[in-house]
């Protein structure tokens, strides 16, 4: 767009019709507000995009999620790298509360489609974080073919998850070559971010599956209260938290010595879509519900203790052998801690009069082979809660270190 043509076209738009003119003026105002660097309001709810680790992992969990997994459809490494650069630039803008493209949702010429889709006009940054990860199939396809010359760089920790007892995984909503986790305190901001990244990626990637989450089920900071999952229980009381720096170093962040230098400062993401059998759970007595979880429903205290953050007494038989809290506890799992970042979901109903609802589980860790896999094997075999759960989707992604600045991009170390 040339500078000369802008005012003229704007005049045409405003003069065109009274109503349309007013709407156009309002839209322009919105764009200016949204794009302004100095807007004090926007600064308060921005999460910095650049940094040594990716935002959206230990960032205090925002309320809303839009998670997406892409298949890479191009064969060209060059195109893929270019898209990652374009994505990174757009992500830096959107997490700062700006439009996805350089021109913006309403500042372009009338004849061209806008380079931002516009539904976030007037909305603040809303704590938006965008976190990227690379799936095992990016390195080798199902036939073992090295797709982009990356096979030798595949981390050992990115080994396919095993089949867990009771799994009913739907392949069409599982896996993927690249994932993006968008978390924000406004659902429209999260959706806007994913929608614009998908658009930028067309021809290079194709959306394989995506998931909306409407309420966080974990706290990732001691400053946050513990939210509840759709079973009505507090979830994530014993989660890894941002303030626990020693535990984070031991259990969350990968280092070069783990075997994959490009993953230093990164973390491995496991996603599991867990359908909850809501209706049968709701018919279960309070006592049985508490026995299954191993915590009280009101306070969230371990059975036999008084307060939420009291340590569960696993030597006591009052916490049953198949209680969830016992089976998931680090002491039952060789000390393994996960940083959970899951969200409640309701995908409408299932045609049988039941809510299609549950937990979209997300966990970050230093190595899934020593963390998620043994914990989940233990749960899948013994957890009394399994009667009310169905694992329907599964994902595994290597999320690299953070983007250091405008010259860096998502995956630079991997593609170096």
């Amino acid at each position: 767009m040339s500078d000369k043509s802008f005012p003229r076209r704007r005049v045409i738009a405003l003069a065109g019709a009274g109503v349309a003119g007013v709407a156009g003026a309002a839209a322009v105002g919105g764009a200016l507000l949204r794009s302004s660097d100095s807007a004090a309001e926007a600064a308060t709810d921005q999460v910095p995009f650049y940094g040594p680790v990716q935002a959206g992992i230990v960032t205090p969990a925002q309320d809303r999620l839009h998670f997406v997994a892409f298949d890479v459809v191009t064969k060209s490494r060059e195109q893929l790298v270019q898209m990652l650069k374009d994505w990174t630039a757009a992500a830096a803008r959107m997490t700062a509360g700006k439009d996805a493209g350089e021109i913006g949702a309403t500042a372009g010429i009338l004849e061209a489609p806008p380079d931002d889709t516009g539904e976030a006009i007037g909305l603040p940054a809303a704590g938006l974080t965008l976190t990227v990860g690379f799936g095992p199939t990016l390195f080798r396809d199902a036939t073992g073919k090295d797709r982009f010359g990356l096979a030798a760089r595949k981390p050992a920790a990115l080994a396919d998850l095993p089949h867990f007892p009771g799994d009913t995984i739907d392949a069409t909503i599982s896996g993927g070559d690249i994932c993006v986790q968008a978390c924000a305190n406004d659902p429209q901001v999260a959706v806007h971010a994913i929608r614009n990244l998908a658009r930028i990626g067309m021809g290079v990637v194709s959306v394989r599956w995506s998931q909306l989450g409407f309420g966080r089920t974990s706290s990732t900071s001691t400053a946050q209260t513990t939210p509840r999952n759709l079973f009505g229980f507090k979830d994530g009381t014993a989660n890894l938290k941002a303030e626990e720096t020693d535990l984070l170093r031991e259990h969350l962040w990968a280092v070069a010595d783990d075997g994959s230098d490009w993953m230093a400062g990164g973390s491995y993401l496991v996603s599991r879509k867990i359908r909850m059998m809501i209706e049968t759970w709701d018919r279960t007595s309070l006592g049985e519900q508490e026995d299954i979880i191993g915590r009280t429903k009101g306070e969230g205290a371990p059975i036999g203790q008084g307060r939420e953050f009291d340590e569960p007494d696993l030597t006591s038989t009052s916490i049953l052998a198949d209680a969830h809290v016992r089976l998931a506890h680090p002491t039952t799992n060789s000390g393994a801690h996960l940083l959970r970042r899951g969200y409640n979901f309701v995908d409408g109903s299932d045609g049988l009069g039941r809510l299609n609802a549950g937990l979209f589980f997300i966990a970050y860790q230093r190595d899934p082979r020593t963390h998620f896999v043994p914990i989940q094997l233990n749960l899948a075999r013994h957890d009394a809660m399994n009667e009310y759960l169905r694992h329907v989707s599964s994902g595994l992604f290597a999320c690299p270190a953070g983007v250091s600045g405008p010259d860096d991009f998502w995956g630079r170390a991997l593609f170096a």
């Binding site: 767009m1 489609p113 194709s206």
Partner: protein
Amino acid sequence: MRPTPLLVALLTVGSVAACSSDKSDSTAATGGPITVKASDTACEVAKSTLDAGTHVFQIANSGNKVTEFYVYAAGDRVMGEVENITPGLSRELRVELPAGTYQTACKPGMIGTGIRADLTVSGSAAPLTEDAALLQATESYTRYITSQSEALVEKTTDFVTAVKGGDIEKSKQLFPIARTYYERIEPVAEIFGDLDPKIDGREDDATAELPFSGFHKLEKDLWETKDISKDGPVADQLLTDVKEVVAKAKAEKLSPLQLANGAKELLDEVANSKITGEEDRYSHTDLWDFAANVDGSQAAVAALRPALEQRDPELVKQIDTAFTNVDNELAKYRVGDGWKLQNELSQAELKGLSDVINALAEPISKIAGVIAKK
């Protein structure tokens, strides 16, 4: 659309410019006709080098399949074409060719990229000014519309005749073929008020004022109710409406911006109603429409090509690659001279088609902005 002053000016100039391939063109042809021997497997053009000027090609079809003959400039921009050359028939194409490199193509069975040969035209070739390139786009696309329209009337006549004759099998065969020509020119056909809904409306679009009629009413009776005994008036009306739309379409001069938007809208059609199987929900012949929409989109882009080459050559490259990817993906579902039925494709196969259309439609959506820029 809100026409900007630039486009209004182009429209005005465009409408007074002569159409070079018009049969009443008074320009004398250079030399005698160039014979083209077309068969099911060959396309022998008597000359491969020509002097710049107006030429007449004489195409004789000795094969068993209906064929088409094209003269293409770079990027398959149609300089001239004849559709629907039935076996045993001979037809003429008059075309004005400035100096440059071209390709000739016969398309036995009327599908695919055809049997190609290079054609070099020598003489003085002045580079186009930007405005001239845009003007040429309109002229080039008008040639396309004219040839497609003629074939549309012929094929619709055949279809309507079969329906009125009560021949269900033949009607079913002709249905997707007649629609091919309509779907190729849909952006133009849609300009004229109620004509498109009458010709191509679906049952759920019907209202008291505009009852269910046209192609899809006949489709439903052919495939679902299996009774076309009362469809004579519907068939007659379809032909009347098609003739009216064709007469209007031929007289219409689309602005370059309309071409750009038409190219995009055709792909939106594919994405929204062909891949999903909504368009031909009784016959499931959606892939015929799919291919025709892509053809039409490609013709509109090809017409704009000289202007796009000047303004954004990188975009042209991107679009060329994306068209090739669509052609390759679609080719997986070719059966003989036609296509697989939409409901024979798996979800993964439909997604493959959806992906290549999205990959094409995004860069194509940028053309309008490039064309509008002064």
